[in-house]
Amino acid sequence: MIPDQLQHQIPALIVLTPLVLGLITALIGRRGLGWWIAMLASLLVFAGSIQLLIDVMHSGTYTVSYLMGNWPVPYGIEYRIDPLNGGVLCTVALISAAVTLFARRSVASEVSRDRLHFFYAVWLFCQTGLLGITITGDAFNLYVLLEISSLATYTLVAMGKGRDRRALTAAINYLVLGTIGASFILLGIGFLYMVTGTLNMMDMAERLDAIYITWGTAEPQYQKTVLTGFAFLFVGVSLKLALFPLHTWLPNAYTYAPAAVSALLAATATKVGAYISIRFIYTIVGTDAAFRGAIPTHVFIMVSAGMAILLGSYLAIKQDNVKKILAYSSIAQIGYIALGFALDNKNGLTAAVIHIFNHALTKGGMFMALGVVAYRLGNTRLQDLRGLGRKLPVSMGAFTAGGLGLIGVPLTAGFVSKWYLVTGAIEAGRYEMAAIVLVGSLLAVVYVWRVVETIYFGKRDEGAPNVQEAPITMLVPMLLLIGASIYFGVDANTTSWIAEAAAETLLGVQP
C-alpha cells in the first residue's frame, strides 16, 4: 500500500517524476539506461494516475485539489483533478507506458545509438508537458507546460530524420504553426488575466461569471476583452488540436516521425488539445458566453468538425502511405471529438470524453502495428503491405481489429463513442451532424478496407524479402492497446461512468 503522506503528493509526483528522471537520463549519458529509466518513469506515472482517478471518482465532490508548495488559492499554483482531466491523465499515462515499452526495439532501429539517451530524455519531457497540461489548474502554468510538450514534440518528430529526411521539414512546419498557436494561447490568457486579475482557472471562472451577470444593460454579455481573449485562445488551441482547417501540420509530422513517436503523438498530443478546448469552453468561459453569446463558437466548431470528418476521411482514402492514411484518419477522428463538445449536451460531451480515450487506444495500437511494419520492412507504403497478412499475422490482425474500431463496428470502443455522439446529435436536433458522423464511418470503411484488402488479398512481390513477426516487446503493448479497445467496446461501463461523470461536472449537474 502507498503511505498516506506519499498518496497526497501524487499530483505533484506525476509531473515531477518524468521531469526529474528525464534530466537524469540526459545527464547520465550513453550507458543504455535511457530506456530503462523512461520505462520506470512511465510505470510510476501510470500507477499514480490510476490511483488519482480512483481518488477522484470516490471523493464526494468528484474533485481532488493539490496546492503546490501549500500556497493558498488563488496565489499559488493549484493542481485540480476532476473526472475529465483524471480520465485524460490516465489515457496519457497508459499510452505513454505502452508506447515506451514498444519504443525500445523500434526506436533503436530508427535513432542512432549515441543519441538514444537524448531521445528518451526528450521523450520524458514530452510526457511531463502532456501530463502537466492535463493536471494543472493554473492557466499560465498550462501555457508553460504546453510549450514544454511542444518543444519536446518538435524534437521527437525531427528525430525521424534517420529514416526519412522529410521528418525535418515536417518538424519545422509543426514548430512554426505550433508556436503561433501557443502564442495565441499566451495572448488569450493575457486578456483573461487583464479582466480577472487571476490565473487560477476556477477563480477565473468565478470572476468571469460575476462580470457576465452584471455587465451590460439588456442582454448579459461579456465585455469585448473577454471575447477577444477567448477568440485568441480558441484559435490557438484549435491549432494544437489540429481542428480542420488548422490541421496542415499534422499529416507530415505523424508520417515521418519515428514509429513510436507517431503512436505517442496520435494517441495523446491532440487529445490533450481537445482537453484544453473543453476546459476553456466549459469550465472557464462558460457555454453561455462561448456558445450562446456574441460569437456562436459551437457553430464554427460544428462546421469545422463536419469538414474534418468528411474531408479528413476523404483525404485518407487518397493516400498511398499507410501512416498517412492513419494521420488523415486522425484529423477525422478529432472532428468527432470536437463535434461532441460542440453539441453542448450530456451525451455529446460524454462522447467527446470517451472518444478521447477510445481513439487513443485504437490509434495508438494501429500506429504500433505500422511500427512493426516499418521495423521489418523499413517503410509503410501501401504497396509494400501486400500479402503481409500471412507474414505478420499478429500485427496485421491487430491492425485490422483497430481498423474495425475506427469504423465503429459494434463491440469495439469506437462504437461506444459513436453511440453517444449520434444520440447527442439527435438530442441536440442536429440531424445533419448525425448523418455526417455516419457517413464518416462509411468513409472509414473505405480507407480501412483498402489497407485490409491489400494486406490479405494482395500478393507479395517475387523476391520480396522474407519478413517475420516482430519481437515480443513490440507485440505485447500493441496487443494490450488493441485488446483494451475491444474490451472497452464490449464492457463500456467503467469508461462511460467516468465520461458521464466528467460531462455532468462540466455541465454543472450535481452528481
Binding site: N347, L404, I407, G408, V409, P410, L411, V416, K418, W419, V422, T423, I426, E427, A434, A435, L438, V439, S441, L442, V445, W449, E453, F457, G489, V490, D491, A492, N493, S496, W497, E500
Partner: protein, 508 residues
C-alpha cells in the same frame, strides 16, 4: 431437460467453441470436419430443446451483460425468433455435410478458414434470432455481415475482392446509415418518453409515445422507413445488389447466404421490428408504412423479370431469392395478423426450397463443371437425384401443391383478403393479388424451362464426350435430405405452423 438459460447459452456459445476447435484441428481434415458436423448437430439440438417451452407460451431469457449504462446484451426466445433459429440451425446440418463434399470435390484452398467462419456466422444468426432488444439485434446483425465476408471472398481473386466490396459496402452502408441512425434516434427518444424502451415488446414500443405526442407520426414513419431500408439483408430493391454480387462465393456459401442465415436474417428482422418495435396495429392506426406494400410488390415483379433473362444458374437463383424475400416483406406490409403469419411461414418454406436449388446448382458444378442454364440439356439423365431434387425445389418456389411453398402462398392470399376487408384496403388488396398471381406465372416461366431442358432434351455431342455421373455422396445426401424436407413439410408442418400461429396471436 436442459434448463432454458443454459440452452440459450450453449446455442450461442457452442458454435464459437466449435470454431475454436476447428481452427485448432487445422491440418487434420477428418477431425476438423467431425467438429463441424458435431457442432452443427449439437447446436440444433440445443435450439430445438427450447421448442417445447416456447410453444407452451414461455419466453426463456438470458441476460449476458450490460455494455453501456441501460444498454445490455440480452436474449429472449419468442416464437418468431424460434422459427428463424430452428430453420438456420437445422439447415446448417445438411449445409455442413454439403460443404464437406463440395470443398473436397473441388479442392478448394484455405478450407480451415472456411469452416471457422461458418459457425461464427451461425452464432450471429442465433444471436439475431434470440435478441431481446434492438441493440443486441444490431450487434449480431453486424457480426453476421463481418463473419460472412471471408466466406464471400473465399476465392481471393479480383472478382471475389470486387464482389466482397459490394457485399460489405451495401450491407454496411444500409446498416450504419439507416439502421444505426434509427436505433440511436430511438435511444434519444427514450430519454424524452417517445418510446417505452429498447426491448422488443408485443404491440410495439411507440404506442404510448405517439398517444402522448412525445413523438410525431411523421418521425415514427421515417424511423420505420429507416429500419426497413437499414435491414439491407432483406434485399428490398434498390438495396439488393449485394446478393447477386455474392454469387462469386463457393456454392455452399451461396446456400448459406440464401437459405440458412443471411437473407433470412434480413426478412426475420423486418418482421421482428414491424411486430415488436413499430407494432402492426400502431402502423395501421397512424397510416404509416403503406408504401412498403408497393416497394415489395415492385421488387417481386422486377426481380422475377430480371431472373428470366439470366443464363447463369446461380444468378437466376439469386434474383429468384430477391423476389421470394419480398413475399415475406409483402406479408409484413399487408399489416394483418394472418399475413404476418404467412410471412413467418414463408421464411421456412423458402429456406427449404432454396437450399435444395443451390445444392443442386453446386452439385452440377462439382460433377459436370457447368454454370450456365443453356448447357444443361439432358443432364437429368446423368444426375437424376440432383435434378429430381431441383424439380421439387422449383415446385416449391412456384407454390404448387404438394410442396411446402404452396402453404405459405395460401396463407398469404388469406392475408390479402383479410386486409381487403379493412378500411382503405381495397386497392392494396387488388394490387397484392395481381402481384402474387403474376409473379407465380413468372416463377413458373423462369424455373420450368430448366426442368424441361434437364429431362426432355438430349445431351449435346460435346457433352457425350465428357461423361460424368452424380456428385459425391455427401452432396447427394444433403440435397436429398432437403428435398425430402421440402416435400414432407407440406404434409407435416406442425412445428412451423404452431409457432407461426403464436406469432399471429402476438400480432393480434
Amino acid at each position: 431437460m436442459i434448463p432454458p438459460e443454459m440452452a440459450i447459452t450453449l446455442a450461442l456459445g457452442l458454435p464459437i467453441l466449435g470454431a475454436l476447435l476447428i481452427a485448432m484441428s487445422r491440418g487434420v481434415p477428418n477431425l476438423r470436419e467431425t467438429f463441424t458436423l458435431l457442432t452443427a448437430v449439437a447446436t440444433f439440438g440445443f435450439v430445438a430443446s427450447l421448442y417445447p417451452a416456447v410453444i407452451n407460451g414461455a419466453q426463456p431469457t438470458l441476460d449476458l451483460w450490460q455494455v453501456l449504462p441501460g444498454v445490455k446484451l440480452s436474449f429472449r426466445v419468442e416464437p418468431l425468433g424460434m422459427v428463424y433459429a430452428l430453420v438456420a440451425t437445422l439447415l446448417w446440418i445438411p449445409n455442413s455435410l454439403y460443404s464437406i463434399g463440395y470443398m473436397r470435390g473441388n479442392n478448394e484452398k484455405h478450407q480451415t478458414r472456411f469452416y471457422v467462419c461458418f459457425p461464427l456466422a451461425i452464432a450471429s444468426a442465433v444471436g439475431i434470432a434470440f435478441a431481446e432488444n434492438l441493440f443486441t439485434m444490431f450487434v449480431f446483425y453486424e457480426t453476421l455481415t463481418l463473419s460472412t465476408f471471408p466466406l464471400v471472398t473465399h476465392k481471393g481473386n479480383t472478382d471475389a475482392v470486387k464482389s466482397g466490396r459490394i457485399y460489405l459496402g451495401i450491407l454496411l452502408t444500409t446498416s450504419v446509415c439507416f439502421q444505426l441512425l434509427a436505433l440511436l434516434w430511438i435511444v434519444a427518444l427514450q430519454h424524452t418518453g417517445g418510446v417505452s424502451g429498447l426491448d422488443f415488446a408485443s404491440g410495439g414500443i411507440f404506442r404510448e409515445g405517439l398517444a402522448a405526442g412525445a413523438v410525431t407520426p411523421a418521425v415514427f414513419g421515417l424511423l420505420f422507413f429507416l429500419y426497413i431500408y437499414g435491414i439491407g439483408k432483406a434485399a428490398l430493391m434498390p438495396v439488393h445488389r449485394w446478393l447477386p454480387a455474392a454469387m462469386v462465393a463457393p456454392t455452399p456459401v451461396s446456400a448459406f447466404l440464401h437459405a440458412v442465415a443471411v437473407v433470412k436474417a434480413g426478412v426475420f428482422c423486418v418482421i421482428k421490428v414491424t411486430v415488436y418495435v413499430f407494432g402492426v396495429e400502431t402502423l395501421r392506426e397512424y397510416g404509416q408504412g403503406g408504401w412498403l406494400l408497393y416497394a415489395a410488390g415492385a421488387t417481386i415483379l422486377i426481380a422475377s423479370l430480371i431472373a428470366m433473362f439470366q443464363d447463369n444458374l446461380k444468378k437466376r437463383l439469386a434474383y429468384s431469392t430477391i423476389s421470394q424475400l419480398s413475399y415475406v416483406v409483402l406479408g409484413v406490409a399487408l399489416l394483418t395478423p394472418i399475413s404476418i403469419m404467412a410471412a413467418t411461414f414463408h421464411i421456412v418454406a423458402h429456406a427449404f426450397g432454396k437450399i435444395t436449388l443451390f445444392f443442386a446448382a453446386g452439385s452440377i458444378y462439382t460433377a459436370a463443371h457447368k454454370t450456365q442454364i443453356s448447357q444443361l440439356d439432358g443432364i437429368g439423365r446423368r444426375m437424376p437425384w440432383t435434378m429430381g431434387a431441383f424439380t421439387i425445389g422449383t415446385l416449391s418456389m412456384i407454390g404448387v401443391p404438394p410442396v411446402v411453398g404452396f402453404v405459405s402462398k395460401w396463407f398469404l392470399i388469406n392475408g390479402v383478403i383479410e386486409s381487403g376487408s379493412l378500411p382503405g384496403g381495397h386497392f392494396d388488396e387488388v394490387f397484392a393479388l395481381v402481384v402474387i398471381l403474376f409473379s407465380t406465372l413468372l416463377n413458373a416461366g423462369y424455373f420450368l424451362p430448366i426442368v424441361y431442358r434437364a429431362f426432355f432434351r438430349t445431351l449435346s455431342d460435346e457433352d457425350l464426350k465428357h461423361p460424368h455421373g452424380e456428385a459425391p455422396w455427401a452432396i447427394v445426401t444433403a440435397l436429398t435430405f432437403t428435398a425430402t424436407l421440402t416435400l414432407f413439410f407440406f404434409f407435416w408442418n406442425q412445428p412451423a405452423a404452431t409457432l407461426a400461429e403464436l406469432v399471429r396471436r402476438a400480432v393480434g
